[in-house]
């Protein structure tokens, strides 16, 4: 365990203080290297590293940066996503608390690469305590002249480097999961309700105030300084080749040592749970694991052997890396009750713009509450699957999938759990069925609708 690299959260006492950070080469090694290169070369270096976004979609970071216009006619913005509201995710908070200056240095490097005018760190309102920590870190860095106009005196370009300065502002959210979605975050920062918008236009063309904007996750930014220091090539050799680097795994639920563990991508899921997080209490078996935050497809306990924790391998195993929030549930867990709670969350957080999401999340919840109460009929299992399936791909933003995936995959993978909750003998013929029966050549007067009252 000891030899796994700690790039984002190194074990250095007091690293959150700017002096300690500087003493360990902060605001010098990584940024110095960046400023000896042309801005586009920095982007190329990040491309070479293979870094992929840590916010959920694992999009290649260097590629995203290269979508920004190279000219400086318009103002350009960088928006750093610290909304972290996905149930099971609590990793970005550790960066705010333990290594805020590496986050800032990463922002300075990314801003240089894209020639950004102003960067915003958007942090969820519930993290008020941590907002203050980051605000202090930003203020300290301003005072040293590491951010703002005085950057030009402090960081002299060399080689192909150019003179550059950027401003950073911390922005506090006010409680809304949907604001984590990138388009919604822009609406929110602009001072409105956090409503997602249809893409295109993509943020790199028309983002904040209609200007080119790039949105990246907190952990993505904090991963940039190590890449600059060691070089993209060396970084690309850590972990899985298709999704290199280290990930902050937030392990919660039924484990002996819940917490955040920085491990290389491609680490075995069973190692994350058993070796690092100390295994399941009382030696119980695992019934279900959600490997990437509550919106990702759950895996069965028997499915975990050999599953590696990176974007491609996890996809092959039937789930998704998401935010690497690993939720572990032991053999005694009531899966239906858990799923009902998940459905309630997405129903609560739907912004209501799209009918399939607004109505669908409500239906998922209603149906699941029937199962939870043992009041469901056999046909409700397929109905549940059907409702979930019909949300996917029919909405403005990915909250639709986030709500549908856990339900659909739980039905597919844990069908017996639903069957156990079916109330024997309960059937309801809906009037709609009769409507379709008419086409079967029945005389309407002959159609009899059997209705069983619910208790």
């Amino acid at each position: 365990m000891a030899d796994t690299p700690k790039l984002v959260l190194p074990d250095i006492p007091g690293l959150r203080n700017i002096e300690t950070y500087i003493a360990h080469g902060g605001y010098r090694d990584a940024i110095g290297k960046a400023y000896s290169m042309a801005p586009t070369a920095v982007t190329d270096e990040v491309k070479k590293s293979g870094l992929r976004g840590r916010g959920g979609a694992a999009f290649p970071t260097g590629l995203k940066w290269s979508f920004m216009p190279k000219t400086n006619e318009k103002k350009k913005y960088l928006l750093i996503n610290g909304d972290e509201s996905e149930p099971g995710s609590f990793k970005d908070r550790q960066i705010f608390e333990f290594n805020p200056h590496q986050l800032i240095e990463g922002i300075l490097i990314a801003s240089y690469a894209m020639q950004i005018d102003h960067a915003y760190i958007y942090i969820r309102g519930e993290y008020g305590y941590w907002v203050k920590m980051v605000e202090k870190a930003v203020a300290d860095a301003y005072a040293k002249g590491f951010i703002g106009p005085r950057m030009k005196e402090n960081f002299r370009p060399s080689g192909d480097g150019v003179e550059f300065s950027v401003d950073i502002t911390v922005h506090k959210g006010a409680g809304a999961y949907i604001v984590g979605e990138e388009m919604a975050m822009m609406s929110s920062l602009e001072g409105g309700r956090g409503l997602p918008r249809i893409k295109p236009p993509f943020p790199a063309q028309s983002g904040l105030w209609g200007m080119p904007t790039t949105i990246n996750n907190i952990e993505t930014m904090a991963s940039v300084p190590p890449i600059m220091k060691m070089g993209g090539e060396a970084y690309s050799k850590i972990g899985d080749p298709k999704h290199p680097g280290t990930l902050l795994f937030g392990v919660s639920g039924h484990v002996n040592r819940p917490g955040v563990y920085e491990l290389p991508t491609g680490t075995l899921l069973t190692d994350v749970i058993n070796v690092h997080a100390g295994g399941v209490p009382n030696g119980k078996k695992i019934k279900m694991v959600i490997p990437g935050g509550s919106s990702m497809p759950p895996l069965r306990g028997e499915q975990l052997e050999g599953v590696k924790m990176d974007a491609e391998n996890l996809k092959a195993a039937g789930s998704s890396i998401g935010t690497a929030g690993v939720m572990v549930m032991d053999e005694d867990t009531d899966i239906i009750h858990v799923l009902t709670r998940i459905a309630k969350f997405y129903w609560h957080e739907s912004c209501g713009q799209c009918t399939p999401c607004r109505e669908g999340t409500g239906w998922l919840l209603k149906l699941l509450q029937r199962f939870d109460a043992g009041e469901a009929m056999a046909s409700d299992i397929d109905l549940l699957h059907d409702v979930a399936f019909n949300i996917e791909g029919r909405t403005i933003c990915a909250l639709g999938e986030a709500a549908a995936w856990p339900v659909r995959f739980t039905v597919e993978r844990f069908r017996e759990e639903f069957e156990k909750r079916v109330k024997p003998g309960l059937t309801v013929e809906s009037p709609n069925r009769v409507h379709s029966l008419r086409k079967g050549g029945l005389d309407i007067v002959q159609v009899h609708v059997p209705v069983v009252e619910r208790v």
């Binding site: 959260l9 074990d11 006492p13 103002k75 913005y77 509201s85 996905e86 149930p87 099971g88 995710s89 609590f90 970005d92 908070r93 550790q94 608390e97 333990f98 102003h118 309102g125 519930e126 008020g128 305590y129 401003d167 502002t169 922005h171 506090k172 959210g173 006010a174 409680g175 809304a176 999961y177 929110s188 920062l189 602009e190 001072g191 409105g192 309700r193 956090g194 904040l208 105030w209 200007m211 937030g250 919660s252 639920g253 039924h254 040592r257 819940p258 917490g259 955040v260 563990y261 509550s294 929030g325 939720m327 549930m329 867990t333 009750h337 858990v338 709670r341 998940i342 969350f345 957080e349």
Partner: protein, 179 residues
């Protein structure tokens, strides 16, 4: 009586220069109002609208959209218990009901003396410290019902928030780092 002094309004004008349009200070202005007043009433919304140069209806929309903005008076100490999955797996439904019983108020309710209000919240990003209770901005993690009651009693008696006993979710980092 306006909430903000001329100097504070001037500070907001400075802050607005850091954004592409004045409306971007809607959230910062509303936060400052809530810090000062405890909640956001009708006249405060008017003042915010004037500062941010947006219609009042826009402010109303924003206040109703975000769960952390209060449109009615809440307690000096806002008690929040997360009942989302990771916390639920560690008994947070019971914790929430216990705390609710102790305070004797419903969800989003306020005690008569104005000291406490209660909210059942979604994931707070403390899943590794489940179950959790937050009071204002302070997170109390890995707590039992008894510990939650002690915190509430201490707050009630002293009007101050005790320091959380468990404050890190990085078991591998050294003690010193966790301070």
């Amino acid at each position: 009586m306006p909430i903000f002094s001329e100097q504070e309004v001037q500070e907001f004008a400075e802050l607005q220069k850091r954004y592409g349009a004045p409306a971007a200070t809607v959230l910062p202005v509303l936060w400052r109002i809530q810090e000062k007043m405890g909640w956001i009433d009708d006249s405060a919304m008017e003042e915010a609208a004037a500062i941010c140069q947006v219609p009042k209806s826009h402010i109303q929309g924003v206040v109703s959209f975000y769960t952390m903005f209060f449109d009615k008076p809440m307690g000096r100490f806002h008690v929040q218990v997360c009942t989302n999955v990771s916390c639920m797996l560690h008994g947070s439904e019971k914790l929430y009901n216990d705390v609710k019983g102790k305070l004797g108020i419903p969800n989003h309710g306020r005690t008569e003396d104005g000291m406490f209000s209660l909210e059942e919240v979604e994931c707070m990003g403390a899943c590794g410290g489940a179950p959790m209770m937050a009071v204002n901005e302070r997170f109390y993690e890995k707590i039992s019902t008894d510990e939650a009651f002690t915190i509430i009693d201490q707050v009630g008696a002293s009007g101050n928030l005790p320091t959380p006993k468990f404050f890190s979710q990085l078991p591998e980092l050294s003690e010193a780092t966790n301070r």
